[in-house]
């Protein structure tokens, strides 16, 4: 049996980790940085795993906040791996990087690294290609709901499926999945000003809407900010991203998280699709985790900095 790292300095960010290693990392990070990081359990998954959110805060109550989630689709391993790197980056850069420090001096950051823990555990034990949750569907042999079609934003519309065997099965009703509903309750009870949901792959940065062609009222601002974010992202390794509304950038998708967030009044709602563009797909080699996280961080900082400087 290989001993687990006893502190986050020994944690290997350049390899993929199973769920228990991720949970241990979160606990270590909290223990090492009690004045900055805390862990909030916002709910339980269908299989009773905790839905952990790391809160990065320098104090205050009900501060404006930034929400970041990674890994709502369990097989997109580079997203959970990037989430771990972001968490460490926040604690190491706070007090050193002026932009991040300014954000944390006025705002909180909430980071949910494993948004779909049942699915993630299943990818390690049974099927690496599993995408959905693990809740059984009554009357069907097929298991799970696509947690990014389960939000109350055009729920049930085109770009989602009513077939429990489909990879994009929307579930029986909006927010039926505890993994989704826990975020809904949490976000609605906090002062969230930016909502960023991270997926892989295909190198895109998108904003609402996915369920309708109607442009959002903040289209120009979000489009300009997306352009700046992808430019900053590309400045590190030249990775090329496309950007735009979900429906224009990829396809119609109903019941998605950022459409819901935007309709709740969270203006800066974005979703990423991280590397790659068609060599490895969901099987991005571990050697690309850190470069992916590093470049994504630049774009995240651009969005967070803009959110700080443009209160609403």
């Amino acid at each position: 049996r290989v001993p687990e790292p006893r502190n986050t300095d020994n944690f290997d960010f350049s390899s993929y980790h199973n769920l228990s290693e991720i949970y241990s990392f979160q606990d270590m990070l909290v223990a090492e940085n009690p004045n900055l990081v805390s862990k909030i359990v916002i709910g339980q998954s269908y299989e009773d795993r905790p839905l952990n959110v790391l809160k990065f805060s320098t104090g205050g109550t009900n501060r404006p906040a930034i929400w970041i989630d990674t890994g709502i689709h369990s097989r997109e391993w580079v997203t959970q791996a990037s989430g771990l790197w972001f968490a460490q980056k926040i604690v190491t850069d706070f007090g050193r990087d002026p932009k991040l420090t300014a954000v944390l001096n006025q705002m909180d950051i909430f980071l949910e690294i494993v948004t779909n823990p049942d699915g993630y555990a299943f990818t390690h034990t049974n099927s690496r290609m599993w995408r959905k949750t693990r809740k059984p569907n009554p009357g069907s042999l097929c298991v799970g709901v696509d947690p990014n079609r389960n939000w109350k934003a055009g729920f049930g519309g085109p770009g989602s499926s009513g077939n429990p065997c489909s990879q994009t099965y929307r579930g029986p009703r909006a927010q039926s999945e505890s993994e989704v509903n826990s975020i809904v309750r949490f976000v609605n009870s906090h002062n969230i000003k930016a909502f960023i949901s991270i997926h892989s792959y295909s190198q895109l940065l998108m904003f609402p809407y996915g369920y309708t062609r109607t442009p959002i009222k903040d289209y120009t601002e979000l489009d300009n900010l997306a352009q700046k974010a992808v430019t900053d992202l590309a400045s590190l390794y030249g990775t090329s991203y496309k950007f735009g509304s979900i429906i224009n950038a990829i396809y119609q998708a109903s019941g998605g998280s950022i459409d819901w967030a935007y309709n709740q009044g969270i203006k800066y709602s974005y979703t990423f699709e991280l590397r790659d563009t068609g060599r490895y797909g969901f099987l991005l080699p571990a050697s690309e985790i850190i470069p992916t996280a590093q470049e994504t961080w630049l774009a995240l900082m651009t969005i967070m900095d803009h959110t700080l400087k443009n209160p609403y």
Binding site: S14, S127, Y201
Partner: protein, 93 residues
């Protein structure tokens, strides 16, 4: 543990609206067998599909019959998965 020996990931490039419909038709025909990695969006935008080994011949024949351009993005998925597993184990060690 589910294995994916011989599964290929094909990259399709639709060149017309007709191709888009044909790819959707293919997916509808064998929805539970095909795993769409990158969904159908627009003409010129790639679509990535994981095809199980027992459906490969049929799918490739279908694509050729309708002149839908495709390439093999991943030749054998299990090979990549084995490499990934080995990398994780050696990182732990």
């Amino acid at each position: 543990k589910e294995t994916f020996n011989g599964h290929q990931v094909l990259r399709l490039v639709p060149k017309s609206d007709g191709h888009l419909s044909l790819i959707k038709d293919l997916h509808n025909m064998i929805e539970q067998e095909l795993d769409i990695w990158r969904e159908v969006s627009d003409v010129g935008f790639p679509v990535d599909i994981r095809v199980p080994v027992h459906q490969l011949k049929m799918v490739k024949r279908y694509l050729k019959a309708y002149d839908i351009q495709f390439s093999t993005m991943i030749k054998d998925l299990q090979v990549l998965l084995d490499e990934e597993q080995k990398a994780m184990e050696s990182a732990l060690a």
